[in-house]
Amino acid sequence: MARMKFLCDSERCVECNACVTACKNEHEVPWGINRRRVVTLNDGQKGERSISMACMHCEDAPCMAVCPVDCFYKTDDGVVLHSKDLCIGCGYCFYACPFGAPQYPQVGNFGSRGKMDKCTFCAGGPEADNTKEEYAKYGANRLAEGKLPLCAEMCSTKALLAGDGDVIADIYKQRVARRGYGSGAWGWATAYKTGSSA
């Protein structure tokens, strides 16, 4: 089984936000929820870099560890998913997540949070694959259809790569070798303990 990962090559990201839009549209993500976002560092200055960030589907996921109701699970592909039926909206996963991935709809006054929503690597949730119920809660299940996440598929510069971790790491290494520089695979050292060499 492949070990699914995301990789954003910040030398290529042009901050077009197509990945963000593709994600929003594919999963009909509600207003206020951002499963994927593009962050620009050093905006307008020398060394400006944009990085597309979502759930990195960590090796030893902090969200899974801190969840008080144990609503997370990991698929055979290494994708970190959760059950919205079990989530109580406590917000612990947001404090533990190194990447700001968990999102919460506001359901009442003040800070009352609804069930957590996050990137599923286009792999749906615990419901049966590609059912109405699954789509309503988690969005499309492209992995079950043999497709990769739409954000990366849409990426016009192929800055954002999604797929088997070894394959995308190889692609990135070849790029760095050919152009002679690279600013690293953002988040890999934090998300995948062994992936920092990429």
């Binding site: 936000n17 951002n34 962050v39 560092l41 050093n42 917000g91 700001g100 690293g184």
Partner: protein, 319 residues
């Protein structure tokens, strides 16, 4: 999982530093470093940038501190809190086995004197009932997934935890009101004096039969409980309301610190109150009446609160 004794202190210090210097070490002037490891080394803090989403939080690209927070919470905080609670129960059981129920040495007189009036008892029980629900629902968030979830299954456990979370949020308001009321009613009786020093020197008479150091309305031990409750409630209320209104008052580091502080303070308070509940109920003959009916036996009062009884007599009380 565990990160040793220094880990928790380190994490608290780190979060404190981050709390007071968020994004201060401007990354604006620096080019992004070669890789994650170098980047984290260089920043020693969260990495944020500009984002088109109208939500400042989403500009936080990477915060490796989330991992430290998880290690602290799942490691030393839970282990320390768990052992503290186990040891408290063991200590109470040992005390009960060795000392037994503390009797009224001179026997019950049959005559009573009013110790706590209606308002005092209302304040106490309002706080007590809230505290029990708050404590149980709080412990559920820490230990429920290991202890209760395997017994009742994930769906029922989520139902229980959802109810617990709602109860925890809403009961915080009457709890804080109850503590404030007790503070106002009793603060003048809880100033430490020389009499309390004698009480502490004699171990409050807890460990020896027939020893009854003098005490006013509250003895040294009760004063310690009073101040622990008042100060503990302040810490719990401040950290708790920060958590209840996420990101209204502070940033990510502040939220993380608040949860750690809230968890530690909560577990310490539960351990303290376990002892309080024991000595106020089955641990001492005649003690429960003080908060039950408000009327205590005169002989009980003479043994445990001699100065207070004299004061009441002078003021023209029942005795």
């Amino acid at each position: 999982m565990t990160i040793g004794k220094g880990g928790i202190l380190g994490a608290v210090l780190l979060t404190l530093v981050l709390l007071f210097a968020p994004f201060a070490s401007g990354l604006a002037q620096q080019a992004p470093p070669a890789n994650d490891a170098a980047l984290i080394e260089q920043l020693k803090g969260p990495l944020a940038g500009r984002v088109s989403i109208p939500d400042a939080k989403s500009g936080l690209l990477i915060q490796p501190q989330g991992r430290d927070w998880r290690q602290t919470l799942e490691g030393p905080v839970k282990a320390g809190g768990g052992w503290l609670l186990i040891l408290s129960v063991v200590a109470i059981a040992l005390f009960m086995a060795i000392r037994g129920r503390i009797k009224v040495d001179s026997g019950l007189s049959g005559r009573t004197i009013e110790r706590f009036n209606g308002i005092e008892r209302f304040a106490h029980w309002l706080t007590a009932v809230c505290f029990i629900v708050l404590g149980l629902s709080g412990l559920n968030l820490s230990f429920g997934k290991s202890l209760i979830l395997p017994l009742i299954g994930p769906e029922a456990f989520t139902g229980l935890s959802t109810f617990g979370k709602l109860a925890h949020n809403y009961l915080s308001f009457p709890f804080v009101f109850g503590v404030l009321l007790m503070a106002v009613l009793w603060i003048r009786h809880n100033i430490f004096t020389g009499v309390d020093m004698q009480w502490f020197r004699q171990g409050g008479g807890l460990f020896s039969r027939g020893v009854h150091p003098p005490a006013g309305k509250f003895n040294g031990g009760q004063k310690v409980i009073f101040w622990l409750v008042v100060l503990g409630a302040i810490v719990l209320a401040v950290s708790g309301y920060i958590l209840m209104f996420p990101f209204y008052f502070t940033d990510m580091a502040g939220m993380q610190l608040s949860l750690i502080v809230h968890a530690i303070a909560g577990m310490v308070m539960v351990a303290v109150i376990l002892g309080h509940i024991y000595i106020g109920s089955i641990g001492m003959e005649g003690a429960f009446d003080a908060m039950g009916t408000g009327q205590v036996d005169v002989n009980w009062a003479r043994e445990h609160h001699s100065l207070w009884v004299k004061e009441q007599s002078r003021a023209g009380g029942e005795d």
